[in-house]
């Protein structure tokens, strides 16, 4: 059974570009991809901007025009990003690993058809007084759309296209529809490798939230509330990010460059549809408590932290109570601050340079939050309260826009780049709107 999983390839198609190093540079430089949409008029919406991928040509990644016509924009992004990840890892499917041994775990967002794809259907199915008429739908509407439209709507299609284009045939599952499910796709890949099911997994997600139906759906779900209240908020984005995960020994055997080792990950449970910030805060503590356990033993497998394992201390509880807090905002798992003391730190790990106060140090935090997702503030409060030193914090969503089902892979991918560059520990959060929160710990391989 393998214990160590490394990230050896990163493929990105984002509003800030396709080169991961360049994306990170632009995030660090504070650039923003937010702009008025070019494909529809957003002026009636509460949110006037989105983050679009520019200069994307699907034919650069797909030789068959017929296949491109079958694909939605999210699928085209997914195919491109997965290809870039494999290319980045210099992995040849079939030569380095048999196709049937390569796993594929992905996440996709809400069905992402632009209105233009279904406008004729709607027009031809409505009566003159604006009612949907099922008879007109059958006699006129249905005939006005492409028979292959279903392939653009099925949520699993983007990832299936990746398998077809790259000839990946191994273990798989496709999660939906939010950032948390994107994190689950990554976790599934880690687990498949750690469980010995495979030595190599392509994991990631794709999403397109830059069309009018997506805007309507997001507004209906309350994502634009802060735009109405404060004039700023979540910037819907689009893109895809895929990572290549490998068992560390297998990666080393083929001479692959490893950006980072996935040191650990933990997940929490979000309840009741509320913000996940406090749950994230607890998870950070939980993850680091596992990391610096007095009896570390073998590396932890990623997984869900049982609620009772790490009682929430008063210092981490916004309500000041003890024990695991169960509220409408989810189950929060904290840690006892003493587990972060020098006495319990594994030798040589998790300590910042010259750190005299014998506290754990993170070289960077890749935050899940942005201005409209309070998890950013709560995670910052949590690490500060726990006495964790953080050298730098990055909030990719502020710059790339919110990529939803692709956001987790973006954050982990950028975290891997930072871990390679900075050394030490980097923490990546994945817990925006919807889905369960997750935290990944990355370290230079």
């Amino acid at each position: 059974m393998a214990d160590r999983v490394v990230i050896t390839g990163i493929g990105m198609v984002t509003p800030l570009g396709k080169d991961p190093t360049e994306v990170l540079r632009r995030v660090q430089a504070g650039e923003s991809a937010a702009a008025p949409p070019t494909r529809f008029d957003a002026s009636p919406f509460a949110c006037p901007v989105c983050a679009e991928v520019k200069d994307f040509r699907p034919q650069d990644y797909l030789a068959e025009p017929k296949m491109i016509r079958l694909m939605n924009r999210d699928a085209q992004f997914a195919v491109a990003a997965a290809h870039l990840a494999l290319q980045d890892a210099r992995l040849k499917v079939g030569a380095d690993y048999p196709p049937e041994e390569i796993a594929l775990f992905g996440a996709t967002g809400l069905a992402g058809l632009p209105l233009s794809e279904v406008s004729s259907l709607i027009k031809n199915s409505a009566t003159s007084d604006g009612r949907f008429d099922v008879q007109r739908f059958g006699s006129h509407g249905l005939r006005s759309i492409s028979p292959l439209l279903s392939f653009k709507v099925l949520g699993n299609m983007p990832v299936c296209f990746v398998s077809i284009v790259e000839n990946i045939q191994g273990p798989n599952c496709i999660y939906t529809p939010w950032e948390g499910q994107g994190a689950q796709a990554i976790e599934s890949g880690v687990r498949a490798i750690q469980g010995g099911e495979t030595r190599c997994a392509v994991v990631g997600g794709c999403d397109v939230k830059t069309h009018e139906l997506a805007f309507i759906s997001l507004q209906q779900q309350g994502l634009f509330r802060s735009w109405m209240e404060t004039g700023k908020g979540v910037v819907p984005g689009e893109g895809a990010v895929f990572l290549l995960l490998e068992e560390e020994a297998s990666a080393a055997a083929r001479g692959a460059r490893a950006y980072a080792r996935l040191g650990d990950c933990v997940f929490g449970t979000r309840r009741g549809g509320s913000n996940v910030g406090t749950a994230v805060a607890g998870l950070i503590g939980n993850l680091l408590a596992r990391r610096v356990s007095p009896h570390p033993g073998p590396p932890h497998k990623p997984g869900w932290c049982p609620g009772a394992e790490y009682p929430l201390t008063p210092s981490l509880s916004p309500s000041g109570g003890e024990g695991v807090r169960r509220t409408g905002e989810g189950v929060v798992q904290g840690l006892e601050p003493r587990t972060l003391s020098e006495n319990s730190l594994p030798k040589g790990e998790g300590r910042g340079e010259g750190e005299g106060d014998r506290r754990i140090s993170l070289r960077a935090v890749v935050s899940a939050g942005d201005d409209a997702l309070s998890s950013h503030h709560e995670e910052a409060q949590a690490v500060a309260t726990a006495g964790i030193a953080v050298e730098s914090t990055f909030c990719p969503k502020r710059h790339t826009g919110y990529l939803f089902a692709a956001a987790a892979a973006l954050q982990v991918g950028l975290g891997a780049l930072l871990a390679e560059r900075l050394g030490g520990l980097v923490l990546a959060h994945c817990s925006g709107h919807g889905g369960d929160p997750a935290v990944f710990l990355l370290e230079k391989s």
């Binding site: 259907l121 008879q135 077809i164 496709i174």
Partner: protein, 419 residues
């Protein structure tokens, strides 16, 4: 940690029954759940038949599940009924453990076109829609996120050990059970609620699938329309439904004296990597999925005693699946019963794999293999024993259940007799 995993709860909300007893009784009796569609007017559609869940009233569940709050997506309610049945059947409704896991398979979102129709004639439809939305003119959502059922079930039962929603098309239900099984086996959770819910029986769903030319158009003979492995088969029949199972470690089940339907022995999955529009014609991907599951169970081909097939009744699927079974099981393929539940249920898409896994558990529990109905003209390319004559006594110890999805996702579960 590797633990033995057993099924201790079942829940059905399907075209052949809304309880385990009804669904299983109808399967054994060879009664089809397919009829002319009554949920909406199909008179102008090429396909007018489907497998509806009869007599289902979401309002009857609304008091039990206030979290669902007038949810317009029918599959959410179907799922709530099946999940609550399974949890109650397992005897854990008031005692779902803290680290229980939930994994739900789904396929298509419902696009509520009636919400958009009022602006159909607007010059700028998007702008008009946005204006309507901002002025509070829309009475409901245009789409329900696919994790809605997961969140409602999770919140209602206090599931805290992970909530997964997969959209792996027709393999979704089997993958939900398979992935959850692995997490119980690995000791990550003590109990898992897993299954699927789907209802594409709405104008867009039925219309969209009919455009793919995979549905039978034999509107005048609904109960005979789905004929897996029959030489005259035309296509499958779209159905709706939800099926859930409760899985837990054998040790936990024995400790609390739970009834055990069957043991989950193995799970495997694969990708065809061929085309999104067709199954790989040689059955390569399907065979890989079966092989992985058999290996995962620690068994060999000779240990498989029955196959509950994907068996959609489409010309391409049934041939490819037959080829795959023969590739994997060799001569054993000819010695064992092969049953196609879709001949009675139709194709519940995401739910079909969960249904067939649950039916496989009942096959092991009751010692009976359901028949494949409507198989009157054997296809020479489909030359296995598909149990056409009626249910058959079963003394075997294992059942292999296949599910293959649009896009080329394949999943196989292997169940064994209760320890």
């Amino acid at each position: 940690m590797s633990r033995r995993v057993v099924i201790t709860g079942l829940g059905f909300c399907t075209p052949v029954g809304r309880s385990t007893d009804d669904a299983w009784g109808n399967l054994l009796a060879g009664r089809s759940g397919i009829s002319r569609i009554t949920l909406f007017d199909t008179s102008q559609l090429p396909v007018q038949i489907g497998g509806e869940v009869k007599g289902f009233d979401p309002n009857a569940l609304a008091r039990q599940f206030p979290e669902a709050n007038r949810e317009p997506d029918r599959k959410v309610w179907l799922g709530l009924e099946a999940a609550s049945q399974a949890i109650t059947d397992a005897g854990v409704a008031d005692a779902v453990p803290g680290n229980a896991l939930l994994h739900v398979g789904v396929s298509l979102e419902v696009f509520f076109i009636e919400q958009v129709a009022p602006v159909a004639l607007a010059e700028n439809m998007a702008s008009a829609l946005a204006q309507r939305l901002l002025k509070g003119g829309m009475s409901g959502r245009i789409q329900t996120p696919l994790d809605r059922l997961t969140q409602v079930v999770g919140d209602h039962y206090g599931v805290q050990g992970g909530r997964y929603t997969n959209c792996s098309a027709c393999a979704a239900g089997a993958q939900a059970i398979g992935e959850a099984f692995r997490r119980v086996r690995d000791g990550i959770t003590d109990l898992a609620i897993a299954g699927a819910a789907d209802s594409a029986l709405n104008p867009l769903g039925l219309g969209g699938f009919s455009l793919l030319h995979i549905l039978s158009t034999e509107n005048d003979q609904p109960t005979r329309a789905c004929r897996p492995f029959d030489a005259t088969r035309q296509g499958t029949v779209l159905s709706e439904g939800a099926v859930f199972v409760v899985m837990e470690s054998l040790e936990r089940a024995q400790e609390r004296g739970a009834r055990v339907y069957a043991e989950v022995l193995g799970y495997g999955c694969s990708l065809d990597a061929y085309r999104v529009t067709d199954p790989e014609p040689t059955g390569r991907g399907a065979a890989l999925s079966m092989t992985k599951a058999i290996r995962d169970a620690g068994l060999g081909p000779a240990d498989i005693d029955c196959v509950n097939v994907h068996g959609t009744g489409t010309p391409k699927n049934d041939v490819a699946e037959t080829l795959a079974i023969k590739q994997v099981l060799g001569k054993r393929a000819y010695e064992i019963p092969i049953t196609a539940n879709k001949s009675m249920t139709g194709h519940m898409i995401a739910t079909s794999g969960a249904f067939e896994a649950a039916a496989s558990a009942l096959t092991l529990h009751d010692g009976k293999v359901p028949p494949t109905i409507n198989l009157e003209h054997p296809d020479p390319l489909c030359d296995l024993d598909y149990v056409p004559e009626g249910w058959r006594p079963f003394t075997g110890r294992t059942v292999l259940s296949n599910s293959f999805g649009f896009g080329g996702q394949n999943a196989t579960l292997i169940l064994g007799r209760a320890p």
